[in-house]
């Protein structure tokens, strides 16, 4: 899932305080699960922002709350369309994709981010999320025993480990596992250490973000003539 965390209240307040009516929009998907932008967090942030605005001398700013099932899909944003007309601005508690989906759907309305989108990751333990995928567009997990060196090695080495691997930890941070140690340990457990003898050729990064924003098209699923809604 996409993992995010909340921006500090003063930063959000400064973004929205020039407006008179602001709608806080939560998202019921990834950011609900990572406890950053679901219905409960929207309620907490709403109260916090109203108090903060009042203390900042802007008591008249209306901050209302709502949460939709999924911000990154226009069909779910539809239910906001009528309500959004009553506001001057939206503050999204979705990930960066959600914020931009709202901005595209409401071209005449300012949309502000309430969260800092961090990464694609998993729940490591209650309240702890860790990054696992960089979305490089060319998944090679099969070659690396199911552990991604691009995400989990600080140097993104495809032929690791480097000399900074100490007792299974990375030299960048003593709390961080060495991704290549994890790969080697798992290869040993799987009995596939011999596969690590192969030199991996340089990666093709053209599938990544370096070539600009990417697009996935499934022609068989496309419906001709239906573009984005105005």
């Amino acid at each position: 899932m996409i993992v995010a965390d909340r921006k500090k209240i003063p930063e959000i307040r400064d973004m929205i305080q020039r407006h008179d009516r602001v709608l806080l929009v939560g998202c019921g998907t990834c950011v609900t699960v990572c406890l950053a932008g679901g219905e409960r967090e929207v309620g907490i942030l709403g109260a916090a922002l109203r108090m903060s605005l009042k203390l900042a001398g802007r008591p008249g700013v209306v901050v209302d709350e709502c949460t939709i099932e999924r911000q990154c899909e226009d069909a779910f944003i539809d239910i906001l369309a009528l309500r959004a007309r009553e506001y001057d601005a939206i503050c999204s508690l979705g990930c960066g994709a959600g914020v931009q989906a709202l901005a595209e759907r409401f071209p005449k309305m300012p949309v502000y981010p309430g969260l800092n989108t961090q990464f694609m990751g998993i729940l490591e333990s209650q309240g702890v999320w860790t990054e696992k995928c960089s979305g490089c567009g060319n998944c090679r997990l099969g070659e690396f025993m199911g552990i991604c060196p691009i995400t989990r090695c600080a140097k993104r080495l495809l032929n690791g480990p480097c000399g900074g691997s100490r007792d299974g930890k990375c030299e960048v941070n003593a709390d961080m596992d060495c991704g290549w140690q994890l790969i080697a340990d798992r290869a040993e457990a799987l009995g596939t250490v011999d596969r690590l003898q192969t030199i991996v050729p340089p990666n093709d990064w053209s599938t990544g973000l370096d070539g600009g924003p990417r697009k996935v098209v499934r022609e068989d699923q496309c419906i001709a003539g239906l573009g984005p809604k105005a």
């Binding site: 500090k8 209240i9 003063p10 409960r40 309620g43 907490i44 109260a47 916090a48 109203r50 108090m51 903060s52 009042k54 203390l55 900042a56």
Partner: protein
């Protein structure tokens, strides 16, 4: 009343609420500007309850739960402790003094301790002054009554 700080106390049914009752039975004197909301356990407390209390203009909030290790539901009070910590961080970000909110631990036999907690908090809030979010007195009373009704409704809901 207008000059006194208004304190809201979220009290666990199994300890602080009984301790408050005991303090009354013992005829102990403590500031009368505290309004008690009963929770089935402080683990029922959510951060948004605390935010709602401050938004409605109370000057300070006490969260009173069982002694650590003595929670009727094993760890509700430990969860509440973390939530209170988070709410205090939020208060600091908002620009309110985090000292306006504190969690205390006591047992149902601690009537005198309950009186002491309320006295401590009342003195602290007098020093900090009224909440800058405080509405007019009538409105404040209405807000507190509304919160009390909501808390009792929650409690009734939990019994069902």
């Amino acid at each position: 009343m207008d000059d006194e700080p208004l304190i809201l106390a979220f009290c666990c049914h199994y300890c602080a609420y009984a301790a408050a009752d005991l303090a009354g039975s013992m005829r102990l004197q403590y500031p009368n500007n505290v309004r008690i909301l009963r929770l089935p356990c402080t683990g029922k407390l959510e951060v948004n309850y605390l935010m709602a209390a401050f938004e409605r203009g109370v000057d300070g909030v006490i969260v009173a739960g069982c002694l650590e290790g003595g929670c009727h539901y094993l760890e509700g009070n430990l969860r509440a402790k973390k939530r209170v910590g988070r709410a205090r961080q939020l208060l600091a970000e908002i620009g309110l003094e985090p000292e306006r909110l504190e969690m205390f631990n006591l047992s149902s036999a601690d009537g005198p301790r309950f009186a002491e907690i309320v006295t401590t908090m009342a003195e602290r809030l007098k020093r900090l002054g009224k909440s800058p979010l405080r509405p007019d007195p009538d409105r404040l009373q209405q807000n507190v009554q509304e919160m009390s009704r909501q808390a009792e409704a929650l409690l009734a809901g939990d019994k069902r």
